[in-house]
């Protein structure tokens, strides 16, 4: 198996960082070698230096870059992840949103939704919420990975996606499928849409509607500061005034320059786009 020299690692890091913000850290070298080895074999390339050049110069470079990104980026996700934050969302954020929404409609964006567990979780929590009965809810999941998106659209999951799902939730929101797998019930699947979007592509994101809430959890952690700043800026553009940004529990906006206010709710701290005037 080919080994990555420090220089090759750095050059590949630059390639991925430019393409999608992902930082290939040194301690991930061994695993990256393993994940990319089948690509070297398939393309008949002898080492990672040649692979790096392939990613720049070959006519199929773009396609290959997508494959490589798909292989390297962590896509770990599951239903009802970070329950404490979800409780805050249900008990404290939704009532606030319901109060000042225009018409009875809400737009929610799960940015970096991976295989769909997060947007479906939101659909389940919101569809079930007493304050939102009869509301028009549009939940959008976007991701860079086409593989993840096709799994999301399929909406069928194995046991590891349910590691944080209670038996009651399982009974209420899922139908059984073959071999111990489950499928998201139709009513919760219907209002979730999916789209292919690189968060570094500001132009693409500007086509999205103005959002009431953006969930972007466990995505920014893989980016460098500059990329985080860019992406957070984009979120602030896409949120309506008074809209909320929900990050993963170990993530925060300190030292990122975008204007958000930190709101202390009883269950958690959340970010909100301030109102002007």
């Amino acid at each position: 198996m080919a080994e990555m020299t420090p220089e090759q690692l750095r050059l590949l890091r630059d390639v991925f960082q430019n393409a999608c913000g992902f930082v290939l850290r040194e301690d991930l070298k061994f695993i990256a070698e393993r994940r990319l080895a089948p690509r070297l074999e398939a393309l008949g390339l002898r080492d990672f230096g040649t692979y790096q050049r392939y990613l720049r110069f070959d006519p199929r470079a773009k396609e290959e870059l997508e494959i490589a990104i798909d292989l390297l980026l962590p896509r770990e996700t599951y239903f009802f992840r970070e329950p404490a934050q979800l409780t805050t969302y249900v008990d404290e954020v939704i009532p606030r949103l319901a109060q000042d929404a225009v018409g009875r409609s809400l737009h929610v964006w799960s940015a970096g939704c991976s295989s769909g567990e997060e947007p479906y979780t939101l659909s389940m929590l919101m569809g079930d919420h007493p304050l939102l009965q009869g509301w028009d809810m549009d939940i959008l999941g976007t991701d860079l990975s086409q593989k993840a998106l096709s799994m999301a659209r399929h909406a069928e999951y194995g046991p590891s996606a349910l590691r944080s799902t209670t038996p009651e939730q399982r009974a209420k929101f899922f139908d059984s499928a073959e071999q111990g797998r489950v499928k998201v019930k139709r009513e919760f699947k219907e209002r979730v849409r999916f789209g292919w979007l690189n968060l570094l592509d500001g132009g693409g994101a500007r086509l999205l509607p103005s959002m009431d809430v953006i969930f972007c959890r466990n995505v920014l952690i893989y980016f460098d500061t500059e990329t985080r700043r860019r992406v957070v800026q984009l979120f602030s553009e896409r949120l309506r005034e008074g809209g909320y940004l929900m990050l993963g529990h170990s993530e925060n906006l300190f030292s990122l320059t975008t204007r958000f206010e930190l709101v202390q709710l009883s269950g958690d701290l959340v970010y909100r786009k301030p109102r002007t005037g």
């Binding site: 420090p6 301690d27 320059t257 202390q264």
Partner: protein, 651 residues
């Protein structure tokens, strides 16, 4: 409610600080209310030319109680000053305010200079407990024999547990385990035992192992004792493994306990558990072992432990109604997959076939690769089916070729039926590889196929029928599809520089850059010296890929004069420049460009320039390298420059 940065006023102040070099202004900026502005000022101060005034000014900021932000920023700046900071900070250790003394100890630790050790040792007797703890921790970074002795003395000192823990951590940081009699009593105190066990792991003597083995047997001590194994990922010696294995064999719930430890958030604990699993050989834990790689950092160790568990462990990953492999994280899968592919055996065929049918592309590919290496006739049928599945057909074609090394007749026979039907690119490749000369009719048919992918595969495989290759490739070279011409360009080198010349000439005139680049590569591969004039022309092509391939070919074939090399070495694309620097260091024109390239904005180009000078340069290049070394901010480029300096000085 907190407002996060980025009001325009902050931005203005940030810009002002980034442009100034005035010390007073920078010191003033340490008091800024914005974290970013303070941080920038501290960074700039730490690289400013140091002077007593600067140090005094920073110490003054440090003394402002209530100004937490400014004090931290001043501490950061002081911690980067190097040796000049040591003396004044030692002075600060004598301040009347304990808070100042603690700050001084912390920063001396950050500086990590052994010159500070004796002052810090004295501070271990400070009246204030916080100062004593900070000094002990700092000694773990400054080091030296006196520091060790002083830290060891603290272990014996008695009831102050906090200082004992700091001393243990400091000795761990110095990788300097104290005498065992000092450590043993601390293994029993719940507050000191984690740190103490970590140090036990650093003692290279049987007596330490004996202690650990004993502790692993007992429920109440084993969690802490495991940390003694968690400090290093290097495999344990086999006699140690044997003892550990004996120790754990009497423990009833060892398997459940290790399962828990392998999934721990604490990486040291996971490492310890991996070592133990290898020692005890519990193949049923194989999926947990693979999953210990989750996150990526422990993948290497996890793979080696998994391999040590042998075939039964791999079977456990693959078999059952819902195989463990399907439930794993991506890192766990990678580790498990590599182990399975590397150690594939006839026993796996059934499970691998089921895995292939589970419909997950990534695991399907693993199954195909493993089937190719399992050395079983039974693998042929599933691999033939896999040839029809776009997601895995490329891998299946390679796997069949591999399997044909063991079962040539059987693989050929199964494929011969299939090539009578519609052709697909990877079927053509597999057939050509397996059938050799007999593949001619199929290759010919492929070159007339309606699908360009099939024609391209036909072109690429034309060389297996060497006698006909010229004619076959002749058709491909005039194909309207660039993909097919690329297939021809990949194969044409096999004809050699003379027979291949007419075809190669045409390909070197193609209008598609991707074809040109491959043709240049072919010229290099077959040693077509006649092509140099055309290759020199191609170095001015607008497409960097074409230029790069042409330069590669020229460097191997020779024939480019100094003027040409100098021109290429100034190309706007960094990859092109690196190519010339990496292969042209024997040319003085290239070396002259290398000196200029030491100023290139790209770190990799600067590194390549230094490497070229290291082998081709002389003393006349020392000055340029010295300047580059001082200015270099990139670690890898800096290493290359230092190596070049050392090489030239030695000359």
């Amino acid at each position: 409610m907190t407002w996060l940065d980025s009001d325009p006023a902050v931005e203005t102040r940030y810009r002002t600080v980034s442009e100034t070099t005035d010390l007073a202004a920078l010191i003033e900026a340490l008091f800024d209310e914005s974290w970013r502005v303070r941080r920038l000022a501290a960074d700039k101060l730490s690289v400013a030319t140091t002077s007593d005034t600067l140090v005094q000014a920073l110490l003054e900021v440090l003394s402002r109680r209530g100004q937490t932000g400014a004090r931290n920023a001043a501490a950061t700046a002081l911690a980067h000053l190097g040796l000049v900071g040591v003396k004044p900070l030692i002075g600060l250790l004598g301040h009347t305010d304990p808070d100042q003394r603690k700050f001084a100890a912390d920063i001396l630790g950050e500086l990590g200079r052994v010159e500070a050790s004796s002052a810090l040792i004295a501070a271990l007797r400070d009246d204030d407990p916080n100062v004593r703890v900070a000094s002990a921790e700092a000694l773990g970074k400054t080091g030296g024999p006196d520091a060790r002795r002083a830290l060891e003395a603290l272990l014996a000192a008695g009831p102050d547990v906090l200082i004992q823990v700091s001393a243990l951590e400091a000795l761990t940081a110095l990788n300097a385990p104290p005498p065992l009699p000092l450590l043993v009593p601390l293994l029993h105190n719940p507050l000191t035992r984690r740190s103490a066990w970590r140090l036990i792991g650093r003692v290279r003597h049987r007596s330490a192992w004996v202690l650990m083995v004993r502790a692993l047997r007992s429920k109440s001590t084993r969690d802490a004792a495991l940390l003694a194994l968690g400090g290093s990922t290097t495999p344990l010696a086999s006699d140690v493994e044997n003892e550990l294995s004996v120790a754990l064999s009497g423990v009833e719930d060892a398997s459940a306990w290790l399962t828990k430890c392998l999934a721990s958030e604490d990486l040291e604990r996971r490492v310890g558990a991996l070592h133990l699993v290898r020692a005890v050989r519990l193949p049923e834990l194989s999926s947990r072992v693979a999953e210990a790689a989750e996150g990526g950092a422990l993948a290497e160790l996890s793979l080696s432990v998994l391999l040590s568990l042998g075939t039964p462990a791999l079977v456990a990953l693959l078999e059952g109604p819902s195989p463990a492999l399907l439930q794993m994280s991506r890192e766990g899968r990678s580790v498990a997959s590599e182990a399975i592919v590397e150690n594939s055996s006839p026993r796996f065929v059934g499970a691998l076939t089921a895995l292939l049918d589970a419909g997950e592309d990534e695991l399907g590919e693993v199954a195909v690769r493993a089937l190719g290496r399992c050395e079983s006739i039974a693998a042929i049928a599933p691999l033939l089916r896999a040839l029809d599945d776009d997601a895995v057909s490329a891998a299946a074609s390679r796997a069949l070729t591999h399997l044909a090394q063991t079962f040539p007749a059987e693989v050929k026979q199964s494929l011969s039926a299939k090539v009578l039907g519609p052709l697909r690119p990877h079927l053509v490749r597999a057939w050509a590889n397996v059938a050799g000369l007999e593949a001619l009719p199929v290759v010919r048919r492929a070159l007339h196929d309606e699908a360009e992918a099939v024609r391209a595969a036909g072109a690429q495989m034309a060389m297996v029928v060497a006698s006909e290759a010229s004619t076959l490739l002749g058709m491909a070279v005039v194909d309207e599809s660039a993909r097919v011409r690329r297939g021809a360009a990949r194969a044409v080198a096999g004809l050699g520089p003379t027979t291949g010349r007419p075809l190669l000439e045409r390909l070197l005139d193609d209008r598609e850059p991707s074809v040109l680049a491959l043709a240049a590569g072919a010229a290099m591969e077959c040693g077509a010296a006649w092509a140099t004039p055309r290759l020199i022309e191609l170095t001015t092509h607008a497409d960097s890929g074409v230029v790069l391939a042409s330069v590669q070919a020229l460097m191997v074939l020779g024939g480019a004069d100094d003027a040409t090399l100098a021109r290429i070495a100034a190309h706007p694309d960094g990859e092109v420049v690196k190519q010339v620097l990496q292969e042209g260091a024997s040319s003085t024109a290239v070396l002259a460009q290398a000196v200029k390239a030491l100023n290139d904005p790209r770190w990799d180009v600067r590194g390549a320039a230094a490497e070229a000078l290291a082998v081709g340069g002389g003393v006349e290049h020392l000055a340029a390298l010295e300047i580059a070394s001082e200015r270099e901010t990139d670690a890898l480029a800096h290493e290359a420059i230092s190596r070049a300096l050392a090489a030239l000085k030695a000359r």
